[in-house]
Symmetry: C2
Subunit: 309 residues, 2 copies
């Protein structure tokens, strides 16, 4: 049996860390968004994979939730002196991983293979896999035109007003071959941005058909608590897409896909609305500050999946 | 009028610095070897161009003659931790230039254009140009097989025994468009390794025909003083190629090409042998330790060219 955890950036990495402390490596596979991946100064960068990798390796910058702890910035300072593109925060330690990845990809390794090598070099025993080895890229349609994801997210700091999202891919896409679809016994959608982190994973054709034909439960954790996102632009984006910024609206977004939905205690009053969508509800503290918080929420999700079988 | 200075690594950069202090930017063009260029971890690296760039910008590591002064090595340390290829010394500051170059090349800029932008960003007023924008790569045939140049030079530390060199190119190659061949009034071959630094420049078809049809003098400075190379593997390589390690043998190597040859005072006794090759000789101190040494040798070369007109 294998649980798939679908995850994106910082929020997803927190629940994933909790799950990794509860389940053995052969019991869970972390399927990571690649819609944010991009090429920058010749480097192949996979921000969400790196966030999870650094988190699992215990070397993440705890205050930001992404990037390396004890990072140095000599190269970036020099890029600025050269008046080079320097909007993306390339730390000296972080750069090593981008160079290593880019070198292996240029030798014909797949992103799945590269990610597996990186994990083993950093002592990570759990399986982190890119959603797909195909090139799938999120683009954001905004009042400033159609933007590549990182242009929108980092360079323009999510300031443009979003009207739609698209997930560009050239071919029918398969899941990473490291995902054993035959063995899946449940799926957890982490509290990541639905549009930027989860939808790109659901755009992978093989993932869509896996979920459509499933005989296992799917549970999502709301990234919205009260009327705000715990982190990142989810609430701002929902507002611009003319959606109420509520967990109920997130549940509606996932309605054809999930059997269960985990709400924060603060949103207890919204549970009946979510249940009206035909989705079962669990109420649990979902703001994860400590490792204990993460493990507790992980246990709630796993227990919920068990009950939904 | 324009003098072309043909130059490679550290020795060439020393004389070039002297020349840049004597001539105005419109009076000289520094034509740099690209046979050492290579791709590493996805980066496009041009070691000889960088050595000259850092030298002219006053930011070179004075003790090695290459790389950056006050360099830091956080990224390389991290690459080692990842057990990535780390035989090439990638400093954090140096990396910025490789990333900047790689980014511009990936956007379709030529190496000539990139080099010009880098020079202007670093405040360099003299013209540094790659010998060619075409891909020309030095390979070394050794007792360990045919090696890419950097494999031989850095990874294997010039230890394999050399039996031949080849300069791989796919097409008839042009000089960099930044070289104004109509205006050339003299050529100085800097005291760089003849096989690794100068011959790849001479392999550029347009350079060969420029020199074959010339009406201007060509002067070379010996990189061999006594029986040793001032720096690098020139002497070891000449020995392996069954050549006596003397300035006379270097002059012979260039015999069809040069009108004048500058020898070190230590080699005064060899002057008649060089003259027997039909080459005029100047004797001058050629071991350049101080800026004054570099300027003095530059003046000797320029005066020699004037006298040969």
């Amino acid at each position: 049996m294998t649980i798939l955890a679908l995850t994106g950036g910082v929020g997803g990495a927190k629940l994933s860390l909790g799950l990794s402390r509860v389940l053995e490596p052969d019991e869970i596979t972390f399927v990571v968004n690649v819609g944010d991946d991009f090429e920058h100064l010749g480097l192949s960068i996979s921000p969400d994979i790196d966030t999870l990798t650094y988190t699992f390796a215990g070397i993440v910058n705890e205050s930001t939730g992404w990037g390396r702890a004890n990072e140095s910035w000599d190269c970036l300072t020099e890029l600025r002196r050269l008046d080079a593109e320097s909007w993306f925060q390339l730390g000296d330690l972080d750069l090593a991983l981008h160079l290593f990845r880019t070198g292996l990809l240029s030798k014909g390794k797949s992103l799945t293979e590269v990610t597996s090598v990186v994990c083993s070099r950093l002592g990570i025993v759990h399986k982190i896999v890119p959603a797909t080895d195909a090139k799938l890229r999120t683009r954001v349609l905004t009042d400033q035109g159609l933007l590549e994801f990182q242009d929108y997210f980092v360079r323009l700091k999510c300031e443009p007003k979003v009207s739609a999202l698209e997930y560009h891919q050239r071919t029918i896409t398969s899941l990473s071959p490291a995902v054993d679809v035959e063995k899946v016994t449940g799926v957890i959608i982490c509290p990541s941005n639905p549009f930027l982190s989860i939808d790109p994973i659901l755009e992978v054709d093989e993932m869509r058909s896996l979920l459509a034909e499933r005989d296992f439960p799917v549970v999502a954790v709301s990234p919205i608590v009260g009327n705000r996102a715990i982190k990142g632009p989810t609430a701002k984006m929902m507002h611009e897409l003319n959606m109420p910024t509520t967990c109920t609206r997130v549940a509606e977004h996932y309605r054809d896909l999930v059997d269960g939905f985990v709400l924060d205690e603060e949103d207890t009053s919204r549970a009946p609305d979510v249940e009206k969508l035909g989705i079962r509800v669990r109420i649990a503290p979902s703001i994860m500050k400590t490792l204990e918080d993460k493990i507790a929420l992980a246990k709630v999700c796993l227990d919920f999946i068990d009950k939904l079988r």
